[in-house]
């Protein structure tokens, strides 16, 4: 009997432990899964003042980790995510981690029409739209114009005249950039994966040859900033926002759109499948699209809001950096990242491994 009781007691204790959850709080919680600079404290504070019954929790992440986190929980744990536009379609097809948006709850009239229709087209599955745009920016080159004045192509990072003085991040951006610099159109080749593999193989040869020229592969924004500001490198592949930040510290460091076009990404609003606070999520979306909030977020992220007149809403120093980098021609030449079809990540991953493992010369 007593043994039985003991077992029961243990069972009850375990069950209680499992059931003890932090429900019961009155305030609704909005759990954001977003990029490092997309939810500045001040904006959260203003939002919570406007909606006192909503409590905002933020987790900072990046594209890959967002998908990994949501995949692990089947789309649970967060109420609003901000993956890039090219990462929604395949992730949804493969892992079913998002739910369709109710566009009637979003004030899409303030959004830039081109970006909105682009993102919608990219993220529509079976007639349902999964994402709307929030901020956009580009990847391209950055150089200290006093030391590397002629840098204009992705391939120039491999120019022996800058030997040991350039850097890049060993991720898919440099694969795509190098492909463009070789005169290929990798996005067009997404529909023919054999062709794409062939392009990747050629890119790998190029980048392996280039290894000797490169000081190191940078890992994150801080890493890159240190390399550039200390003068240890004079040019690098970069996110535009990092270059804009450095521009405000050293006016010689400029963002340079490659001659084949800077690669443009759009970070979106997308709701995870098991999100529990959709209304709060829609409120957040509409809230951060207001002009004064747009300026605050652009100030912290260095990216351009996908609203009408987004560049004009940037704070002065960031706008100056954008205007120093882009003319109308460069804007017209932007290459927006195309949807990544299933399987391409694996092919690109293999190529990156091959490059990393190869010993140059």
């Amino acid at each position: 009997m007593n043994g039985m009781k003991a077992k029961l007691a243990i069972g009850a204790a375990v069950a209680l432990g499992l059931m003890a959850r932090t429900d019961g709080a009155q305030a609704e919680t909005l759990r954001l899964l977003t990029w490092g600079s997309y939810a500045p404290d001040k904006v959260i504070q203003m939002f919570e003042e406007k909606y006192p019954d909503i409590n905002v929790e933020v987790t900072f992440s990046n594209n890959e980790e967002m998908i990994a986190k949501l995949r692990a929980t089947g789309g649970g744990g967060y109420d609003l995510a901000q993956p890039s536009h090219d990462r929604v379609y395949a992730a949804q097809l493969e892992y079913d981690i998002y739910k369709p948006l109710d566009l009637s709850k979003i004030d899409t009239s303030v959004m830039d029409e081109n970006l909105l229709s682009g993102v919608k087209a990219n993220t529509t599955i079976e007639g349902e739209v999964y994402s709307v745009p929030h901020q956009w920016g580009t990847s391209g080159l950055m150089a200290d114009v006093t030391k590397a004045p002629e840098l204009k192509s992705w391939a120039d990072l491999c120019d022996p005249k800058y030997k040991g003085k350039t850097s890049m991040r060993l991720k898919r951006t440099i694969l795509l950039g190098t492909a463009f610099a070789m005169g290929e159109d990798p996005f067009a080749a997404y529909s023919d994966l054999d062709k794409y593999q062939q392009i990747l193989d050629e890119v790998a040869v190029k980048l392996i040859e280039c290894k000797d020229n490169i000081k190191t592969y940078w890992q994150g924004g801080d890493d890159l900033s240190n390399l550039m500001l200390s003068g240890e490198i004079v040019a690098s592949e970069t996110w535009d926002s990092t270059a804009y930040r450095l521009f405000s510290e050293n006016q010689n460091i400029r963002f340079i759109p490659p001659e084949t076009g800077a690669l443009a990404w759009i970070d979106t609003f997308t709701i995870p499948r098991k999100g529990e606070a959709d209304d709060a999520a829609y409120k957040w979306i509409n809230f951060v699209l207001q002009p004064e909030i747009v300026t605050m977020i652009s100030a912290s992220s260095g990216a351009i809001a996908a609203v009408q007149g987004g560049v004009g809403l940037m704070p002065d120093d960031k706008r100056a950096a954008v205007e120093a980098a882009f003319d109308d021609e460069a804007i017209a030449n932007l290459k927006f990242f195309a949807n990544i079809p299933p399987g391409v990540e694996d092919m690109e991953g293999k190529t990156l491994e091959k490059i990393k493992a190869a010993t140059a010369n």
Partner: protein, 289 residues
């Protein structure tokens, strides 16, 4: 009979945290990982079971080269850590005065109070081209150009030794501490030189500590992630980086899980081989210290 049951309940409750820890945090995840590693993706959201991931590992030289590289460097780190750690441990256990022992031990512990990440950044600040060491060497006139000390395998080895050396020193100190000084004296009295005493008396006595330290250090090194990534250069691949890439950048959990299982099996095999060669047992070394 009531008291007997109460004792049993007491024992069960005492055992419970340990059992839960082992089952929930060690056994279940590893079993899950193993099952995941046997899955093959045939299409979006469609999976079958098979050993394709393992075949893929064998067929791709990059993968097993990285594993071998990781193992080789880890063994090198283990050997160097032993070489550097042994004199330190011997000094703390045998030569230092009783009062200063605690303080010396604490000095060894202090680096552990700071996270791995911060320690790696410390090395970066010191060793980068515009860093402290390069600057100091220039100031002393030993070199006339900035020198890059980061981003190569030597830096990775140094960083790893720094991270793990404590785990070598602790078991060594505790074994050496138990050695009677008269053993060493007897060795000298019987006409043994320093080398002979070290080889015939001290090392055999310290063997359990040496083996325990080596096992822990090897496992920690082979499984480390931050130090090799942050200090390593453009050619330095580490196997844990491969696992991360498979899971996160390539969304390929199946193959990431396969690599995880392989790393566990491989490092366990190396440890088993080491135990066989040194004639020690797990119970006599790690469990004891």
């Amino acid at each position: 009979m009531g008291s007997k049951d109460a004792r049993r309940l007491f024992l069960i409750l005492l055992f419970m945290p340990f059992a839960l820890w082992i089952i929930l945090l060690i056994a279940l995840p590893n079993i899950g990982m193993f099952i995941l590693s046997l899955q093959e993706k045939v299409g979006p959201r469609v999976y079958t079971y098979g050993i394709a991931n393992y075949v893929e590992f064998v067929n791709e030289p990059i993968y097993w080269n990285t594993l071998l590289r990781t193992a080789t460097i880890s063994l090198l780190v283990t050997a160097l850590t032993l070489l550097i750690g042994f004199p330190v441990a011997y000094y703390i256990a045998k030569i230092a005065k009783k009062q200063s022992k605690g303080a010396l031990f604490l000095l060894c512990l202090i680096p552990l109070w700071v996270s791995d990440l911060v320690r790696a950044f410390g090395w970066i600040l010191l060793l980068r081209e515009t860093g402290v060491v390069s600057g100091a060497l220039q100031w002393l006139g030993l070199i006339d150009q900035p020198v890059e000390l980061l981003y190569n395998d030597v830096t990775v080895v140094i960083g790893l030794i720094y991270t793990v050396i404590l785990f070598m020193i602790v078991p060594l100190v505790s074994t050496l501490d138990g050695m009677d000084d008269s053993l060493v004296e007897a060795g000298f009295n019987l006409g043994g030189g320093r080398a002979t005493v070290l080889r015939r008396i001290i090392i055999p006595y310290a063997m359990p500590g040496i083996v325990a330290g080596c096992i822990v250090v090897f496992m920690l090194t082979a499984g480390s992630y931050l130090t090799p990534i942050l200090l390593g250069g453009k050619n330095s691949m580490w196997f844990t980086e491969q696992i991360y890439d498979q899971f996160i950048t390539r969304y390929n959990w199946e193959s990431g899980a396969t690599f995880g299982v392989l790393l566990l099996v491989f490092t366990s095999a190396v440890v088993w081989l080491g135990l066989r060669l040194s004639g020690q047992t797990l119970a006599g070394t790690v469990a004891k210290s």
